[in-house]
Subunit: 194 residues, 2 copies
Amino acid sequence: MHDNFAPVALKNAYRLINHGPTVLVSARHGGVDNVMAAAWACALDFAPPKLTVVLDKSARTRALVEQSGRFVIQVPTAAQLQLTHGVGTHSLAEMPDKLARCGVTLFDIPGQDLPFVAGCAAWLACRLVPEPHNQLAYDLFIGEVVGAWADTRVFRDGHWQFEQAGPEWRSLHYVAGGHFYAIGDPLTVPAADD
Amino acid sequence: MHDNFAPVALKNAYRLINHGPTVLVSARHGGVDNVMAAAWACALDFAPPKLTVVLDKSARTRALVEQSGRFVIQVPTAAQLQLTHGVGTHSLAEMPDKLARCGVTLFDIPGQDLPFVAGCAAWLACRLVPEPHNQLAYDLFIGEVVGAWADTRVFRDGHWQFEQAGPEWRSLHYVAGGHFYAIGDPLTVPAADD
């Protein structure tokens, strides 16, 4: 945590992922921390805020989520491109020092027994809403957001400020095969159209 | 349909929404066509390709999806900013000529009894995978993609080509209050990192 780290009101938490970024999923159980990338994460509700994330059965992080009933969804930045791709392509099962090798630094938030990835633009602490059928049949997990934070250099006053931050702060949007897009320019509908 | 309209292999269909765009959802039943915007749509599986979309109980399109068991997810472009915001903020219930007033032109694809929105960058025809608990408890709908198409000016050879198309082709990524971002620049992880 640092001077630019600030809580986000839960009513605005959905805005952290509403634009469809690729996210990092982290979880902790039994002394093990892990982090993976997920392109398939999505807001599900406003109040209480909920989200969905798809976690493959081969993912070590999935087991940590199932065991602890908690996880973090965080929004990585363009500066974390290699980190994001690295934690998305390597498994803790085959690379025990995965986090170190991928350049991941974890930090704690008081009151949250969860591993948060340093350098991200935003963080959502989630409580797993158990839905065994969805988890088994679709690898689909539902989380209720119980805490949200952002780096004020890129999200403040309830809105992303990508256009006022450096290009290294842009969110990542994965396609396939190592190809991402950064989020781009703002487009605002004239108020008269609202 | 036109010269730049081409099918997308089902194995690549997930790539049309993998980067998290806001989408248009359309459906048809009993002689009624409707279109709405949805920021909460997400890929769910590769093969067969599946996706999720959140459809509020107040949405007329939701009823059409439930009644027909089919829908289209399509990727609108920056040129369709006002159209997208319009169909996302007005309901057919209060505006019977919603589609015309929002500038929506529909077209047919042979073999698909569904309304497709002209001018989009990509289209995914979906069969509803009924999950009554998800639909009732979370407004969460699962679709299996049974057909996919794209405009080759912006998606071809299995990949988005935003950087080679004009800015009017960029996908839209909604935040809140009429504020969108367009998708931005490509970022590619060096192959050595794969």
